[in-house]
Amino acid sequence: MVLLQLDPFLNELTSLFERSTEKGSVWVTLKRSSLKSKVQRNKLATAGEAIEYRCLIRATDGKKTISTSVGPKDHQRFQASYATILKAHMTALKKRERKDKKKSAEADKREGSSKRPKKALKV
């Protein structure tokens, strides 16, 4: 599994979503990680150096796995693009039913108001 840069990751994520529309799922995992091995971490700890953590992001459709990482500087930009992709692809979720009721109520009102002037004209 290779760590991708942010933009290639987002592109790959988009194609994962597109490939799984008919069947299958997409998993996205967020985890805090230093991206270093335990030995390296111990070395840094004994040297008294601070361990730098980043947010590791992994995505899979069960066959292909992609990953990237964001630090404190770029997570906000990534967050925004990630949210856009999710919004664009999570279209199978149900919309609220209340909205439909409101729409039909409005439609009734319009019909009602349009009828009145017509009647007035006839008379």
């Binding site: 008919e22 947010c55 999570m90």
Partner: protein, 103 residues
Amino acid sequence: MVYITSWDEFVDRTVQLYRADPDSTRYVMKYRHCDGKLVLKVTDNKQCLKYKTDQSQEAKKMEKLNNIFFTLMARGPEVDLSEVTGKEQTDAQPAKRGRGRKQ
């Protein structure tokens, strides 16, 4: 593990779980287009918290949780979350970064 039904409870408990053990807690989102289902999971390998939904309304709430976890994981578990949950996060950003560097 039983699904948590209240969204607010889910958010509170997941953040608590993460703060208790930031190194081994992960946040997983699973989306299944053909069934229109979304499952969120946060686990530290001992405890597992899950939330399930099929409402697009809930996806917006998830976006906020995503922001919370991105911030917690990229900047560190001690970050003040009131900025992230509030809308004026861009204004408060520079001050926050400065604090991070000093550590």
